[in-house]
Amino acid sequence: MKRFLLLCLGLTALVGARPSLQFDKDRIEAGQTFNLQFIVPIQELPQNRGALHLETRDNFKLLGLDSADQVIRPEMDDIFNSFFGGGGRAYKARVYSFKVKAPKKTGQLDLGKLTWNIDGEPNLISSKIPVNVQRSFNDDALAVSLTPSKKSIYEGEQFSVTLSLHTFDHFQGGLQATDMSTGNDFIVHRNDLSNMEFKHVEGTRREMKATTRFAWLSPTKSGSLQIPSFKFKYTKLGEPKVVEEKKQMGNMSFSSRSVKQEPIETETATAPLNITVLPLPTEGKPDDFSGMVGSYSFDANFDKTNLKVGEALTLSINIKGDGIPGTITDPKLPDFSDFRSVPPENSINKKVKGAKVITTKDVKVFLYPKKKGTFEIPAITYSWFNPAKKKYETASAGPWTIEVEKGEAPAEPVYQAPVSAGTSTPAVQKQEIEFLGSDIRFIHAITDKSETAAPHRSILFWVLFAAAIPFYLIVNFAITRKRKRNSNKALVRKGKANKLLKEKFAKARTALKNGDGKGFYAALENGLIDYLSNLTNIEFKGMTRPQMKQELAKLHVKDETIAAIDSWLEKCAFVRFAPVSTTTEEQSRMLADVEKLCEALKL
C-alpha cells in the first residue's frame, strides 16, 4: 500500500493530478442532500481494487454511491499556477459520488471514515471528513425555547421557566420580544433579562447561544394550565440571489453578475408550555392553613415579658419561604383584648437565592397593656403545604406569659359620646374629646347649606365676573359721551330750553294764583324770550322787537310764527307797563296760548 501511495505522490508531482475528496456544493445545509466526491485519476486506479466504504458519523445518512469517468479541468487558480510553472493540465479521472443527507444539527461535524478495499484489505483514505453544516436561509435564524423546571406542580407551588435563544449564521440582529405574557393563571416574578449573555457556540462560525432563567411562577388554580407562546422579532439574511446588471458606456455594453442577500424581518415564537397543576390534598389540611405552598420557616417572639402599664410590647413575627413570589399570608393572631394595639407594621421582601425566589415577611405588632396583671398569650401557629414532602407542615411559637406591673402612664382613654343637652341639632356643639391626640375630634353642627367643591364650574360666577368689563365699557362710554356733549354750550343750552321754559311757566302760574298780574306777564315775557335765546343760542334780551324779528327771519322761522311771537311780546309789554288790568280767565288763556306757541315753535 505504501508503494501505491508513493506512486500516487510521484505521479501527482509530475502531472499535477491527485486523488482528492470534495463536495459538490459550497454550502451544506442542515437536512439537505449533497454529494461527497472521491476523484482518482484513471492512471492511478489500483489494479486489484474492491468496494469503497463510507462509514458515516454525526447522523449523516448515506443514500447511495455512484461512479463515472470524467475529464477534470483545472480551476482558475490552477491555470494561474501552471502559467507560472506549476501543474494544471486537464486529466481523466474516475469520480466516485457518495450521496449523503446532512443531519438537522448544525456546526462543524464529522461526516465519517472512508476506506477502500485494495488487494482484499481495507485501506484508509480518510479517517475524518470535516463538514460545516449550516442552516438553510429559508429556516429561522433564531431558535427560541422555554423549559419549565417542573411540568407537574401543586397549586401555589413555585417553579421556574428557562428561556433559551440560539442564533444561526444568517441571523443579522434587531432582536425584539413582542409578546412575553405568561397569561392570567400565574403569579410571576420576572428576572432581569438585561444581563442575558450570548456565548459563541463551539465548532460554529457565527452561531451564538444564551440561556437564562426567565421567571419564577406560581399557579393560582389547579388543572391543565398553559403559558402562551413568547413571540420575537428579528432580522435575518435571505436566500442568495444572482443579480444581473447591464451597463452602457458609449457604444459598448457590459453585463455583470453579483450575488445579493436581502435582510428580511422575521418572527419566531416558542412552543406553548403546558403545566399540570395538581390541587392541594384535603387530607391533613390544618385549620389555620392559609394557602402557602413551599418550604417555609416561621418564628414569633416578644421583645419582653415583663413591663409596666404605659410601656409598649412588641411581637415580632418572621415568615420565610419559597412559595408564591412576593406573597405571604398573615398568621392568625391570638386575642389581644387585654392590650391596646396599633395597626401592625408589615414588610415583605423577595430575593432570588439559587434557583428559587425567597419571600420574607416581617410583622411587628405593638401592644400596650390596659391594666396590670399576668396575661397568658397562647401559641401562634402557621401552616403550609410542603410539595417536596407532599404533606402539610405546621410551625408554632409560644405560648408566653406577660407580667404587667402598675406604671406611671395614664390609664387607657375610653371613648364616650358627649351627652347632648337636648334632642335638637343646636345641642351638638364642637367638643374635643381628644386625649393627647389619641382620638378623633367630635362631630360638627351641619348647616343646610349645600356646598360645591368646584365653584369655578359655576357659569353664573363667570358671567358676573365678566359683566364688569361691559359694565365698565358702557359707563365709560356714557361718561365720555356726556362730557363731549357738555363741551358744546349751544347744545347744552338747547337741551335745557324746555326745562327752563317749564320753570318760567310754573312761576307764571304761581303769579296767576297769587293775583300778581305784573309778575305773571314778566314771567311769561321772560319765559318766551329766554326760550327763544336757549333754542337759538342768540341773546334776544336787550334787542328791539324789529331786531328780534330780523334774527328770527334769518333762522327761517315762519312769518306767521314771528308775527305771533311779536304780538305776544307786545301784549305782555303793554299789559306790564300800561295801566290796564286783565281778568284771571284772560291771563289763563294767554298762558295756554303762549304754551301752545312754544310747543309749536321749531328751531
Partner: protein, 255 residues
C-alpha cells in the same frame, strides 16, 4: 336711568346666585346627629348617607360621616369622607386632624415627606381661604377695580387721581395673588383626583379585567392617585412603584 337699570340687573343676578346655592333641608341631618350622640353609629351612617344620596354636598356632613364610619370600624370609608370634606374645606383643622389620625390606623403607611418650612408657610397661606372665598373676593375686587377706575374720571384734582391709581394698583396686586392661588386650586381640583380603599383590601391588577394578574394588594384606608377610569376599574398610581387597576367597587374616588 340706564345706570340704575344695570345695577338692578346685577342685584337680581346676585339674588339668584344666592338662591341657587341654598338647598332644601334634609331630615336625616338631625336624625343622624341624634343617632351619633346615642352611639348608634350605623344608624347615623344610614341617616347621613340618605342626605348625601339626596344630593347634599356639605363638608360638615362628610366630616360627620367620616367620624361615624371611624367609630363603626370602617376605616376606609372614614378616610374617604374626611378627604371629601377636606376637598370642600381645605383649611379646616378638625377635618385635617381626624384624617391624619385615621391614616395612622391604616396598615399601609404613607411616607411623610419632610417639607421646606418656607413652602409649608406658603401652603398654609394658600389654604387660609377656601376656593369659594377666594373666588368671591376676586369677584368683588374685580368689580371694585372697575368702579374705582370709573370714579377716577370724576375726580378733578391730580391728588385725587393719584389716590385712585394707588387704590387700583393695591387692589390689582391683591387680586393677582388671590387669583393665582385660586387658579392653582382649580388646576389641582381638576387634575389631582385621589382614591381610598374602602373594602378590607383591594387588588391592584395589571389590566382592567378580573382575569388579569394581581400585582399588589392595598389594605383598607390606603390612599392613591387616580389616573383615570376604565369600565368598572380605576387606573391608579401609588408612589413610584405601584401602578395598575383597582375595582371601583372596592375603592372610593374623592371627587
Amino acid at each position: 336711568m340706564k345706570l340704575n337699570r344695570i345695577f338692578l340687573t346685577i342685584a337680581a343676578a346676585l339674588l339668584m346666585a344666592t338662591a341657587s346655592v341654598a338647598a332644601p333641608a334634609c331630615a336625616g341631618i338631625e336624625a343622624g346627629t341624634k343617632a351619633y350622640n346615642e352611639n348608634d353609629f350605623e344608624r347615623a351612617i344610614d341617616e347621613w348617607r340618605t342626605c348625601v344620596d339626596e344630593g347634599v354636598v356639605n363638608a360638615d356632613l362628610y366630616y360627620n360621616l367620616g367620624n361615624a364610619y371611624y367609630r363603626s370600624g370602617k376605616l376606609g370609608f372614614a378616610i374617604y369622607y374626611y378627604k371629601s370634606a377636606l376637598r370642600l374645606h381645605p383649611g379646616d383643622d378638625d377635618i385635617q386632624h381626624n384624617l391624619n389620625f385615621a391614616q395612622t390606623k391604616t396598615r399601609d403607611k404613607e411616607d411623610d415627606e419632610e417639607e421646606n418650612p418656607i413652602l409649608e408657610g406658603l401652603m398654609d397661606l394658600h389654604h387660609a381661604l377656601s376656593l369659594k372665598s377666594q373666588m368671591n373676593i376676586s369677584l368683588v375686587l374685580f368689580w371694585a377695580i372697575a368702579l374705582v377706575i370709573l370714579a377716577r374720571r370724576f375726580v378733578n384734582g391730580s391728588r385725587g387721581k393719584n389716590v385712585c391709581t394707588g387704590i387700583v394698583f393695591g387692589m390689582s396686586v391683591i387680586l393677582c395673588t388671590i387669583g393665582a392661588s385660586a387658579l392653582y386650586k382649580m388646576i389641582v381640583l381638576e387634575t389631582d383626583i385621589t382614591g381610598v380603599v374602602t373594602a378590607s383590601s383591594a387588588d391592584v391588577t395589571s389590566a382592567p379585567s378580573d382575569k388579569s394578574q394581581t400585582l399588589n394588594t392595598l389594605s383598607e384606608g390606603t390612599s392613591f392617585e387616580v389616573i383615570g377610569e376604565q369600565g368598572n376599574f380605576a387606573e391608579i398610581r401609588l408612589g413610584e412603584k405601584i401602578r395598575g387597576f383597582v375595582k371601583l367597587s372596592e375603592v372610593g374616588i374623592v371627587k
